[in-house]
């Protein structure tokens, strides 16, 4: 069985799997064999939810379940479950969120070294509406890659939104745009994650997160002007309101928690080689509209390590240079462009860009829900 026929997966996954684990050789290549017996991992306790930064991922972004998804779509739920149970001891291959999760763990390791008593850590939680029968295969796979995921909810078909809220989720990543939309409506930072055509190699020691500006970190108020009155009016408006901070967008809170952790590293002298690095990758221009963006961040007391003003140029090549573990944008055009060049890109379905997309009759990317 090849879950990844035709895909040139990941040199990075390979390297990441090497880090701290005993798998050499791409695990998915021998998916036909039974996985090795689980060895107990180093077992620090998971932090209490109220202290931690909770990142919820769905099963389909953490692992590659394409083949199984197809079975579900073509043959229905019962066959899907039968298949999963029959292959229970075969680990899934890594999905697009895998390298991001490994990077979060790397940050945790370094935080624990510097602040052994602190519970201000990332807590990765698996939240899926998969049926519990798939549970053992998911658990076996987590064991196989020695991921530190001790909390999960497999809701058996019910919407995961209630659980996200109940457990103070800071960020939710899923392959299902409907769920992501629901989460955003409920006030939870969320994004739809896509699998890139190829995976570029990413750092194993430094977490890199890239954000678009408008309708991601900031509200979509300026984008509305651009859509209604065009680019010139947009520049004019931004210049005129340069000193008025923009309203915040859905991912502002996540940038905030990253900043908090960064300060903890700075306090221990880790400014130059901080294990967390953040990027703003925006179509705004440095000459005009960029100022308002930077001033807004400053007014929020937030820092961003690198601000890249592309003045409308495509984002893909720039991201390819940066190599973030994850990139958030509200426009599918940019998300697709990034994915084409190997960046794990996520769509934040927020703001005016979504209404425009729907009106244009663009094909909505529906990843069917696994019930």
């Amino acid at each position: 069985m090849s879950a990844n026929s035709g895909r040139t997966l990941t040199v990075s996954g390979h390297d990441l799997a090497k880090n701290g684990s005993s798998n050499t050789g791409a695990p998915w290549e021998d998916a036909g064999t039974v996985l090795k017996p689980t060895t107990p991992t180093r077992k620090p306790q998971p932090p209490k939810p109220q202290n931690a930064i909770t990142i919820a991922v769905s099963s389909r972004v953490l692992f590659n379940m394409e083949k199984e998804q197809q079975i579900f779509e073509r043959q229905g739920m019962e066959e899907y479950i039968k298949y999963q149970v029959a292959h229970e001891t075969e680990p899934f291959s890594p999905g697009p969120a895998f390298s991001f999760v490994k990077a979060l763990e790397a940050v945790n390791t370094q935080l624990r070294e510097l602040y052994p008593e602190s519970e201000e850590l990332f807590d990765v939680v698996l939240i899926t509406n998969n049926h519990a029968n798939v549970g053992l295969r998911l658990i076996n796979t987590i064991n196989h890659y020695q991921l530190f995921i001790e909390r999960f909810c497999m809701t058996g078909g019910n919407s995961p939104i209630g659980y996200l809220k109940a457990y103070h989720t800071n960020l939710y990543l899923s392959a299902d745009p409907d769920k992501v939309h629901e989460a955003l409506e409920a006030g939870i930072a969320a994004a739809t994650m896509f699998t890139p055509d190829k995976m570029t190699e990413v750092s194993e020691t430094q977490l890199r997160v890239a954000f678009d500006g408008d309708a991601v970190l900031f509200s979509d108020e300026s984008e509305q002007i651009y859509k209604a009155h065009g680019l010139d009016k947009f520049f004019e408006h931004e210049k005129a309101h340069e000193n008025r901070p923009l309203d915040h967008g859905p991912l502002k809170g996540f940038l905030e928690v990253l900043g908090k952790l960064q300060k903890k590293f700075y306090a221990k002298g880790r400014r130059m080689d901080c294990p967390i690095r953040t990027y703003l990758v925006t179509a705004r221009s440095a000459a005009s509209s960029g100022t308002r963006a930077l001033k807004t961040l400053r007014s929020w007391g937030l820092e961003i390590d690198e601000a890249l003003f592309l003045a409308g140029a495509p984002k893909g090549p720039m991201l390819e240079k940066i190599r973030p573990h994850i990139f958030f944008d509200d426009q599918m055009f940019h998300v697709e462009g990034a994915a084409e060049m190997g960046t794990v890109a996520c769509h934040v379905p927020y703001g005016i860009a979504q209404r425009a997309a729907r009106k244009g009759g663009k094909d909505k990317e529906t990843s069917p829900v696994v019930k």
């Binding site: 739920m77 049926h131 549970g135 658990i139 001790e150 909390r151």
Partner: protein, 266 residues
């Protein structure tokens, strides 16, 4: 005389097969509200256990729909656990019949006699709203659980909902302490039967939902529980591994009818 237990059959209800049915005992205090009878009808108002009875009825109806000759059904009996209610047999019977509850039998017992009554009558699950009663019955080897207060508790208008069972391990419960070896089989037997009922239905069309909640310990623990339950024939629908996170939010989301301790399952 007060120590006698009387058993009364409910003639409104078809009796279940004694060998195959799963006997579930519910206390009268859990089913009926304290206080005076309703003026007009002379019967008692319904209380916390009503949604459970409705859900059980739904499960039975669905089972019979699939197979009219089905004998693996849930058999609900009503039991009194204090002498006051023990004396009020006629009101209890008439209230039960008035509300059309599918109660098969009545056991009129007192504080002293109810546990023996449970043991002698092959009760596989005892449900009460009293923590003390649940504790005492568990200690004597009767699988027991507390009936949960649920959001839509105002009874009569209740939609017929699915029966929602939450399985967890409660390592603090005395159920774990050494009780008679034979009684240790009972919780497993109940679970096995529950599992068998669940198997009568498919993934999506079941009137019975079984959730597994792992309160402490991580995924290793969770994996072991799933396997242990599976070997008993219990296939759970959803699973939550909390690793020490508070369980109250989950409780409000899942709204189980009762929470059952399955920590003895190895």
């Amino acid at each position: 005389m007060d120590n006698m237990v009387s058993v009364v059959l409910n003639t409104d209800v078809k009796q279940k097969d004694a060998d195959s049915a799963v006997v579930v005992a519910v206390t009268s205090r859990a089913l009926f509200e304290q206080g005076p009878e309703d003026d007009e009808t002379g019967v008692w108002k319904l209380s916390r256990a009503f949604p459970l009875l409705q859900a059980v009825q739904k499960v039975n109806d669905c089972l019979l729909e699939k197979n009219p000759a089905e004998s693996l059904l849930l058999d609900v009996i009503l039991i009194t656990t204090d002498s006051q209610h023990q004396q009020l047999s006629s009101v209890l019977i008439s209230s039960t019949r008035h509300h059309g509850l599918g109660v098969g039998k009545f056991f009129f017992s007192s504080e002293e006699t109810f546990i023996d009554c449970l043991l002698e009558n092959n009760v596989q699950l005892f449900l009460s709203t009293s923590k003390d009663e649940v504790l005492m019955a568990s200690q004597k080897g009767v699988p027991s659980a507390l009936l949960e207060a649920r959001k839509n508790d105002s009874s009569v208008q209740c939609q017929r909902e699915d029966l929602r069972v939450w399985l967890h391990e409660d390592l603090i419960s005395p159920c774990d302490s050494a009780s008679q070896p034979s009684s240790r089989h009972s919780p497993q037997r109940f679970l096995a039967q529950l599992g068998e009922i669940r198997q009568r239905f498919g993934v999506s069309d079941s009137p019975l939902w079984i959730s597994l909640v792992i309160l402490h310990g991580g995924r290793e623990n969770c994996g072991n529980r799933l396997k242990a339950l599976r070997s008993l024939g219990v296939s759970v629908d959803d699973v939550y591994c909390l690793a020490g996170a508070p369980s109250d939010p989950l409780l409000s989301l899942l709204q189980p009818h009762f929470r059952f301790n399955c920590s003895f399952v190895n």
